[in-house]
Symmetry: C2
Subunit: 226 residues, 2 copies
């Protein structure tokens, strides 16, 4: 479903070059749960942004459903991002002027879903994640873990085939974290969705079929369950 070949990403900062990713090869099948682990700064978020077509590699190819993304026009890329991929950002990226419900409904507006349907689906998604009674709060009226969960619900709004979750439980206690992971597990088992989770938490990695470890922009280890 997702194929990355020889992915390199470099940033130029004044006179120095930061090698965020140095030749990463990765193939992920439909319905898999893959965990990506590694030290702070090892390139995990950079890799996630490239998989999610939010960023282009400096070198290498990305294929989504066998379509090379560099051959796609911006409009097709936007469709993939909006419909096929749900992204949970490490820093949440919620809209301050919208409520929790408004934030979860936002991706559905771009897919031209009717307002009554958006409002209802947003409310249900928040309910599922334990935030039913917080739907009218704005981000600044929510705790850190509540904001994180709103961004998780938002990622599921358009029922995407691929969910990319960048450290989705970093601000959650173990119980809320388990609720999130069980939800993602169920989306994968029952609905065949592909879930890629960046995590520092071995308890979260335990939900994965495969665990990939990055260090200094390279994959140094790959472990499979079963």
């Amino acid at each position: 479903l997702v194929k990355l070949r020889n992915i390199t990403k470099e940033y130029q900062l004044g006179k120095t070059v930061v090698h965020a990713l140095r030749g990463v090869d990765l193939a992920i099948d439909a319905g898999e749960i893959v965990a990506i682990m590694g030290p702070s700064g090892s390139g995990k978020s950079t890799l996630m942004h490239i998989i999610g077509c939010l960023d282009m590699p400096s070198v290498g190819e990305v294929e989504i459903e066998n379509m090379p993304t560099d051959s796609l026009r911006e409009r097709q890329l936007a469709t993939i991002r909006g419909r096929k991929i749900g992204f949970v950002f490490q820093t949440f990226n919620l809209v301050a002027s919208l409520t929790a419900q408004g934030n979860v409904a936002l991706p559905m507006i771009f897919q031209k879903i009717k307002r009554t349907q958006r409002t209802q689906r947003a409310a249900e998604l928040l309910e599922k994640i334990g935030l039913g009674d917080r739907k009218n709060h704005h981000p600044n009226e929510l705790s850190g873990g509540e904001r994180q969960r709103v961004s998780i619900a938002r990622a599921m709004a358009n029922d995407p085939d691929i969910i990319l979750a960048d450290e989705p439980t970093g601000n959650l206690d173990s119980e809320s974290g388990a609720t999130v992971m069980r939800t993602l597990r169920r989306l994968s088992d029952e609905e065949g969705k592909t879930v890629i989770v960046v995590t520092h938490n071995p308890e979260v990695a335990a939900y994965a079929d495969r665990v990939i470890t990055l260090r200094d922009g390279k994959i140094i280890k790959e472990e499979r369950r079963d």
Copy 2:
């Protein structure tokens, strides 16, 4: 050093009232490391903001070094916040237009420390936390965990007596997290600083002399080591 009596905090949102804290009593001695744990939304960040004089309770008294804070003028409160307390925010709150080094130096400007001294101290603090080679990066050129560590270094800029760290390792791998906790441990053991850490991670709580558990705005458990 820090005393909280019957602290209640309520938020009014339209017709509903959110009871974030419901009568919290807490006394923390100089040189202690205290961990605060509890589910997402249980009131931990709210409590930290009140301890750090960044927010006022709806009911109850706060004393810092035996001085009731409601008897202090804004100027004296600002001095406490600027010199006695170092705050690591759950959402980092870095200044986007400044580099890592600039962000760490910022609190020192308000304490009228000379520029050459600020620059050097900021560089040293970043070095200690493993970010020496990232000091010229802006926040959007840093990973999540790197931003978290910059905000930790910034909290130590003015050598405060009390460090309040709201989930300081939520975005860190276990090794970076251990480095941070060893640094805080040393500040407490060798320099007599008081450290209050909100965490979901039992490995972090293991560094504490005392662990306080919140649920629904109340302290439900207190455990002491030794």
